[in-house]
């Protein structure tokens, strides 16, 4: 009787599928939440209420109960809303799904249809390279007659070694979607938006990339997990690059807004100027996919910022192992243990959402740049600053390779 052996390859394969599902699931979960919170924040900032009509009430729970018990919930209580307006994104999605798909007569059909996909696919791909948790180590074990071999599972869907570079490379492809959509619409406003988007995203790719480089250089690794671990281990857990490289962090943050077309830099969809921007001519599901791609890109960038500058999934000075003590079995609590990993995922999510919140907050506060000012800022301010920062960093690293400020 041969034992069934789960080799690391098999476990890794299964884990990859699970991680992919998890990442996509999380992203698709966060997007509606993000839309909801965006609207809520906008409303509260503007002294309004925001979406509050579509939601479950306590009375909805009755339908989960047997018929005889439904009267348990009193009528007054039944009308109490559970998170008012929480189903609004769902309602929007349903609405969009049922909307008529209008393709403008003069549209280039291929590019027009390709646009939304090209926006979403690179972002979705890039999410694969995002390290969202601590490394999980499955130890050697024999469970129910199945032999499990020790496997190291990195908490990112794809664990290629220059992961961060891949991420950067793939995410930059998002601009093609916007350009295709804008060009393919056969309309002037989307065209202008596409041109703007292409120029803007290419321009801000430079400071973004340099800030990225600074981060990588400071850490000395291209591996996402390594970057996080480096930050967690330096300065007693406070070695986040946002403290070590504040200027780079700021540059990255600003460039991130521009990459995401968020408000101070939302020129490709500047409503008073370009009506709807590149998605003016889109309706229905294609519009929804554009929307989804845009929000996923926000999540991606926030995740990236978290990883690079906010210490990723690490919880600062607090060591999870210390918290839970050593009394619990090492399978769970030790480094690479599952509880530890789950905690790190939660930490990562919270940090990422905080950055997301900042994006929403900024959007409802600031006016918009003008096109030339945007370019000026990108090329004349951010890029030189980033270059200078990179140069100084490079010099410091080469002169003082063991200087703790960086490593």
């Amino acid at each position: 009787m041969t034992e069934f052996v789960l080799t690391p390859g098999m476990i890794g394969f299964a884990a990859t599928i699970l991680k992919a599902l998890f990442v996509i699931g999380m992203a698709l979960q966060i997007v509606p939440g993000c839309i909801y919170f965006e609207r809520k924040i906008a409303a509260y900032v503007q002294h309004r209420i925001g979406p509050n009509r579509v939601n479950f009430t306590i009375g909805t729970l009755r339908y989960l109960m047997p018929e005889s018990m439904r009267d348990v919930i009193p009528e007054g209580l039944a009308r109490v809303k559970l998170i008012p307006g929480s189903l609004q994104p769902l309602a929007d999605a349903i609405k969009l799904a049922f909307k008529e798909e209008v393709i403008p007569e003069k549209a280039d059909k291929l590019l027009y249809n390709l646009g939304p996909m090209l926006t979403f696919i690179p972002v979705g791909t890039a999410l694969c390279f995002l390290p969202f948790g601590a490394t999980l180590i499955v130890p050697d074990a024999n469970l129910f007659g199945i032999e499990i071999q020790r496997t190291v599972i990195e908490m990112s869907v794809s664990n290629v070694v220059p992961g961060m570079l891949m991420l950067l490379a793939v995410s930059s492809l998002g601009v093609y979607g916007i350009a295709c959509g804008g060009w393919g619409s056969g309309s002037k406003y989307p065209l202008m938006a596409a041109v703007r988007a292409a120029a803007q995203m290419v321009s801000y790719e430079v400071p973004l990339g340099i800030a990225f480089l600074i981060a990588l250089a400071s850490v000395g690794s291209l591996d996402g997990q390594e970057i996080v671990r480096n930050q967690a281990e330096t300065w007693h857990g406070f070695g986040w690059l946002v403290f070590r490289q504040p200027l780079a962090a700021l540059i990255f943050l600003v460039a991130m807004f521009a990459e995401n077309n968020r408000l101070p830099f939302d020129l490709p969809e500047a409503e008073p100027e370009l009506v709807g921007g590149y998605h003016t001519e889109y309706t229905g599901l294609k519009f929804a996919i554009f929307f989804l791609g845009e929000y996923c890109a926000m999540i991606l960038m926030c995740g990236l910022f978290t990883t690079l500058f906010l210490g990723g999934w690490s919880l600062g000075p607090i060591e999870p192992v210390e918290v839970f003590g050593s009394t619990i079995e090492p399978l769970i609590t030790a480094e690479g243990g599952i509880l530890n990993v789950l905690l790190s995922v939660a930490v990562f999510t919270v940090k990422m959402l905080s950055v997301l919140l900042l994006q929403l907050w900024i959007r409802w506060t600031l006016p918009r740049f003008r096109y030339d000012q945007l370019m000026d800022l990108g090329w004349k301010v951010l890029t030189p600053l980033a270059l200078a920062n990179l140069a100084i960093t490079a010099i410091l690293i080469s002169k003082f390779p063991n200087f703790t400020f960086f490593a």
């Binding site: 509260y44 002294h47 506060t365």
Partner: protein, 185 residues
């Protein structure tokens, strides 16, 4: 107080000072304001009136400036009834003449002999509510205090023909509502 309200006097014109030029202070100030507003809305009342559940006149003063039905509000018309439940209108057609939108149509007829106190009444009294601009001139023109504009404004229908109100509908338009006191001239 507003009279003694001193607003910020700038030493330098805006845009010239260093603080203005580096973006961040103003951005921070803006973020501070918005976050204050955010928590202001969370803790305080918001400006929105939850309309169908809360009538706009039901809201308290803190939420909305007008906390009671404004007698002057120019909403839908009613024809006023006299003590005996008959329309007060005598079909003098002044409202029809005063209407700038030409939305009133009246056809007079003599009253039944048993009425005694007046000689004519409207046989047909129609207001095309789609055409009406709710200016209140009919109310102003009426010499018999027979037509009034009420604070009622929630008036959707499913067809256009329903929006042409006939005499019966105008008489029964808002039976529950107190007919507002006519504002003093």
């Amino acid at each position: 107080m507003a009279g003694s309200h001193d607003h910020v006097e700038e030493a330098l014109p805006p845009g010239k000072s260093f603080a203005d030029r580096v973006y961040l202070p103003a951005v921070m100030r803006g973020l501070k304001l918005t976050v204050q507003k955010f928590f202001g809305t969370v803790t305080d009342k918001h400006a929105t009136v939850q309309y169908p559940e809360v009538g706009i006149y039901d809201a308290s003063e803190a939420e909305r400036a007008i906390g009671h039905p404004n007698p002057r509000y120019r909403g839908e018309h009613i024809l006023v009834k006299d003590e005996q439940g008959r329309e007060k209108c005598v079909a003098c057609l002044l409202c029809m003449a005063a209407c700038p939108a030409l939305c009133i149509h009246i056809e007079p007829e003599p009253t039944p002999p048993e009425w005694g106190d007046r000689e004519r009444r409207p046989k047909v009294f129609e207001i095309d509510m789609l055409r009406c601009i709710y200016c209140g001139y009919c109310e102003e023109a009426c010499p018999c205090d027979a037509i009034r504009l009420t604070p009622k404004f929630y008036t959707p229908t499913t067809s256009r023909t329903e929006r042409v109100y006939d005499k019966e509908r105008l008489l029964e338009n808002n039976p529950a509502a107190q007919i507002p006191q006519r504002p003093a001239k």
